[in-house]
Symmetry: C2
Subunit: 327 residues, 2 copies
């Protein structure tokens, strides 16, 4: 792609997960022009990680001529803090304590860097380029290894007093319920509706029902993908695993709706591949638990973003959003 | 008070409850200059109610010379909708269906009228004149006959897509729990933490413990006030009633914090007279259920507004807020 094809300016979008980091060059129309990735978990020291990131990204920048074309870097990462540009106490990242991520990036790349958590980045991506275009009030729920969320109200992301707003995966849906493997909390949404939670539910249920197709897999192969395979083949226990997951999700969504009364709730992440197996019970139990004035109003939909690009796109959206705010 | 004492302009604040309606003339410093009240439940027809309101308020307006000094009318009422100016399906009001309240008021008074629910009005009052002065992110919880809420994020009230955001009293804190006497939902915050909920808890607990001081009262005298009297005298069952209430409240507050990460949660309403009997367990269970990054950060405080004036003041704040938005 030649420079003349670029209408407008560029941003770097970086999505940092516990295992992998994805990055890309994005234009202001939300097109991912270049992308790449590296392992997050191979770098014990944050400085070495940023050095490696710089080495991997520099060729992409050079391809477009120079830094001057770039408006900044947007980073989505667990516990990323929009106000301080730090990542704090992120349980899934190799670097402990408070990491001054935005500052380290700025020093290395010479570009302004904006940080937020990965789900907030995804919500921005949906608002600028995806299913939430034109919406001023919506909630994004990411259902992956964990459960994250990004909340938009009055047309802006809610960051809260300290920059950490929107940790809906850690809200309690069943007091005294399933203990979370990492936080120790009891009955959080993440303990049920994440891929990890679904595997736990599936292992429990298959033990109760020896005839379930789920018992044909070894313990370590039980995950949301294999449960989906069994459900697709009509295994009633696998279907029940998703129904139960959808119920817990729906009960939680009802509470979220009564908080911010969104136009839509967008679901995103690997778990949504289960489709209607999860969406239908989620919708049912959301509606059932709503105060009447909220019923039959809220759209419950899947993300529209291309999954391979969504994280990068969402992160890059931070740069455009920041630019808008500074105008 | 002579006209020369008035610095600035005036607003009418009206708080409409199921039983009583309070109204007052408020200046821009948040001083309630005049006030009055009438019964809400004596008026089966909304037109007759507004006629009576007009009759009662006109002398107060005339005392200050003319309508010209007034910037508008702010109304807090159950299910009041900021966007449409209507009250919809309010279970505690005598008028059913969708009431075009703001339009009716405007026609009768000749002043612009802004409507929202009573808890949102209270939150605005706290932000302009009370304990939330200077805060951009806080949640107001009103604990009265019912449980209401007003949520401020990024310095603005969250109204949501349809104007009904912030019905935290109806969020579910205990799935499958106590059935709500009016909505039929199971395990809502209101079912436990409202004055009505506290009376239910007290009646249950005193039946289990014959030695409790609570058994010295007739059934109809059991309410949050008599429970407080018994708790103050050291009755361990009455204390347990508040502890249990505080626990349910605290569990709910933890979920709210993980949604919008507020600087403070303000508690308001008759129930807070129970003071530390409720505040301490609420704080304990809020902290206990928080994701670590939110712990020991959120102030849990009582409203600072004079209770007799707070509702009027909160409603009048709508006029100033509206004025600010139109600037």
């Amino acid at each position: 792609m030649s420079l003349t094809d670029l209408s407008g300016r560029l941003a770097l979008g970086i999505d940092i997960g516990g295992t992998n980091t994805k990055f890309g060059v994005v234009n202001h129309r939300g097109e991912v022009l270049e992308k790449g990735h590296l392992r997050t978990d191979e770098y014990e020291k944050i400085e070495v990680f940023i050095e490696a990131l710089h080495r991997a990204i520099t060729p992409l920048i050079e391809k477009y001529g120079s830094l001057e074309l770039f408006d900044g870097i947007g980073v989505g990462m667990p516990n990323g803090n929009y106000y301080t540009g730090t990542a704090e106490q992120a349980p899934n990242l190799p670097w402990k304590g408070v990491i001054p991520f935005a500052d380290l990036m700025k020093d290395k790349f010479g570009l302004r860097c904006t940080v937020t958590n990965d789900a907030n980045a995804a919500a921005l991506g949906e608002m600028l380029f995806g299913a939430a275009r034109g919406m001023k009030d919506f909630i994004m729920i990411t259902l992956g290894t964990g459960v994250g969320s990004g909340i938009v109200a009055n047309g802006s992301l809610i960051y809260g007093h300290d920059g950490f707003a929107g940790e809906l995966g850690h809200t309690i849906v069943k007091p005294g319920g399933r203990k979370h493997w990492s936080t120790g909390s009891e009955g959080s949404l993440e303990a049920y509706a994440s891929a990890t939670g679904i595997a736990i539910t599936a292992k429990k249920m298959r033990a109760e029902f020896p005839s379930s197709m789920l018992n044909q897999y070894p313990e370590e192969a039980i995950n949301s993908k294999t449960v989906f395979e069994c459900a697709s083949k009509g295994d009633s226990i696998a279907i029940e695993v998703f129904r139960y997951t959808g119920q817990k999700l729906g009960e939680a969504l009802a509470n979220f709706v009564m908080f911010s009364s969104p136009e839509a709730i967008l679901l995103f992440g690997g778990v949504i591949k289960a489709g209607d197996f999860i969406l239908k019970p989620a919708k049912l139990h959301m509606e059932r638990n709503l105060f009447p004035i909220f019923r039959d109003k809220v759209k419950l939909v899947f993300s529209e973003l291309n999954e391979a690009d969504a994280a990068i796109l969402g992160a890059s959206a931070l740069v455009w959003e920041q630019k808008k705010n500074n105008r």
